[in-house]
């Protein structure tokens, strides 16, 4: 019985210790695996936290899931990359206003040997057509993420109904960007990835960028405060403060200065109203 009492007291202390996290000022940002796994947040957030003393808790999910978390009122800010899904989110009344933040681009990754010979050019649509014709192994995210939505859009542009054309060559993994890249590398398959995650990815093996530079591969990120009228727990002031900083000249400069091996990963474009 004495032991039980000790255990109980210890448990209380531990829970108390754990809950101290909740007492500091923080906001929760639902974002995408690409921003987390490319290392952007690990670079950007400490700058913001030093400046404001506000901690930013990032929950990194696919864009679709991130928006769903916000729809339940579990995040203060969303920071994602799928324009159409973001517009829907706004139209449903879950977001206040969408601001463009930055862009990078998608790239088609594949083995250096390039057995389907799709590399070299800029034309992503031609490359996808060739992949489909050759039934070359292709890994899809399959997780409603921004990258997945972009991929589906590109198949459509190429005039391919992927639901009909899919076969054993088309591997729908339902995974985040990193795990999907791991899968592609181990299966010698082609994959569409965002450039940031690819550059930060360490298990590149014999893989390389085969198609890039097509304007249809453009990948725009947006940021929104979750609507406090709809979700009263949203930290309105703190959340808006973060949004304002990200699109401010200072935040934009910080984004531009994040580099891996001298290569810039994201290009700020908050000033572009059409983005």
């Amino acid at each position: 019985m004495v032991i039980a009492r000790h255990v109980f007291v210890a448990a209380l202390f531990t829970l108390a210790a754990l809950s101290t996290h909740a007492q500091e000022r923080f906001i929760t940002v639902a974002s995408t695996t690409s921003t987390e796994q490319s290392g952007l947040f690990a670079y950007l957030l400490p700058i913001y936290e030093r400046k404001t003393g506000i901690k930013v808790h990032v929950v990194a999910l696919g864009t679709g899931q991130a928006l769903d978390v916000a729809r339940r009122g579990d995040a203060d800010v969303v920071f994602v990359h799928a324009r159409a899904a973001e517009e829907t989110f706004l139209a449903e009344g879950h977001g206040v206003k969408r601001y463009p933040v930055m862009y990078n681009d998608f790239v088609l990754i594949g083995p250096k040997a390039d057995p389907a010979r799709v590399g070299g050019g800029k034309d992503i649509v031609a490359a996808l057509k060739r992949l489909e014709a050759a039934h070359a192994p292709f890994v899809s995210r399959g997780d409603r993420s921004g990258t997945h939505m972009a991929e589906l859009e590109l198949w459509k542009t190429a005039g391919i109904d992927i639901d009909k054309a899919r076969g054993p060559w088309y591997r729908d993994t339902g995974q985040g960007m990193g795990p999907a890249l791991n899968t592609a590398v181990s299966m010698n398959a082609y994959i569409l990835a965002d450039r940031g995650t690819w550059l930060a990815f360490k298990n590149q093996g014999d893989f390389t960028v085969l198609v890039e530079g097509d304007k249809r591969l453009f990948n725009q990120y947006g940021v929104m405060l979750v609507n406090p009228d709809r979700h009263p727990n949203v930290k309105k002031e703190l959340g808006q403060q973060f949004v304002d900083w990200v699109i401010s000249p200072e935040g934009q400069k910080a984004i531009a200065s994040y580099k891996i091996n001298g290569k810039q990963l994201f290009y700020p474009n908050a000033q572009d109203p059409a983005a």
């Binding site: 255990v7 210890a10 754990l18 996290h21 579990d74 590398v185 360490k202």
Partner: protein, 251 residues
């Protein structure tokens, strides 16, 4: 020879798998030797979360196991089967249920526990309470067969008997509690969902391993995995030694 025809894809990745393993070992050594502050923070959060979950699960599971062991009631067998089956609760399902409960849109949303360590404690405690209850029920019931007449003879009540058995079997129960701890500490699906793997807040060993794997940093992921193994192994070794000494001492 025909074996090799199957692994033409694997041949190229085989050397890299080997080097990943050895790199993982080196990484683990570097992490431990350097007492990397980030690692220390992740390890200590892992321990805090899983030990709290074990404490909660013991407070619920041990009395439950003991109560079922010493009582006879209608539906007891069905309850035992259900309890044994729930040892295999899929972590992701538990994570999802806890997420839905704790979400702002859920019934317990007001507590604001989602994406906090407390949420992870809840999820892990739900996962391991059935393990502790079911395994302790078995051990206590076996002992109850032996002790029942003597304790009845002394005039002990069922409640008193349950408490007496829990204390008398403390050394065997330690092993069960450790099994629960192992499961809690090694679990990733549930804590990922309810904790959100937030850097510095809810990132524990397993979610850090998952993240590093995602980033393709396999040596770092393996290194972290080895650190986790070392911790779980040391705890078990310590418990085993204590147990063995105690068994010899107390019979």
């Amino acid at each position: 020879m025909h074996y090799f025809s199957y692994i033409d894809v694997g041949v190229s990745s085989l050397p890299s798998a080997m080097s990943s393993l050895s790199q993982g070992g080196l990484e683990a050594l570097r992490l431990i030797a350097g007492a990397d502050p980030k690692l220390v923070q992740i390890v200590s959060l892992s321990l805090q979360v899983s030990l709290s979950a074990v404490a909660v699960a013991c407070l619920a599971g041990l009395p439950l196991g003991a109560a079922i062991a010493v009582s006879r009631f209608h539906g007891r067998r069905a309850l035992i089967v259900a309890l044994n089956a729930s040892m295999g609760l899929p972590p992701v399902v538990v994570g999802l249920l806890v997420y839905l409960m704790l979400s702002r849109a859920g019934p317990l949303g007001e507590l604001g526990l989602l994406f906090t360590p407390a949420a992870m404690v809840v999820a892990q405690a739900i996962l391991i309470t059935p393990i502790i209850a079911a395994l302790s029920r078995q051990v206590i019931e076996d002992a109850w067969m032996e002790y029942r007449e003597q304790l009845h003879s002394l005039g002990e009540t069922r409640l008193g008997a349950a408490v007496t058995l829990l204390w008398d079997l403390r050394f065997s129960l330690v092993t069960i509690v450790l099994a629960g701890f192992g499961r809690a500490a090694a679990e990733v699906g549930a804590v990922m969902i309810v904790g959100g793997n937030i850097d510095g807040v809810t990132r524990v060993m397993t979610t850090a391993i998952a993240l590093e794997t995602s980033k393709g940093d396999l040596p770092l992921a393996l290194g972290l995995g080895m650190v986790l193994l070392v911790i779980v192994f040391s705890l078990n070794a310590a418990a085993y030694l204590v147990n063995e000494t105690a068994q010899r001492r107390y019979g």
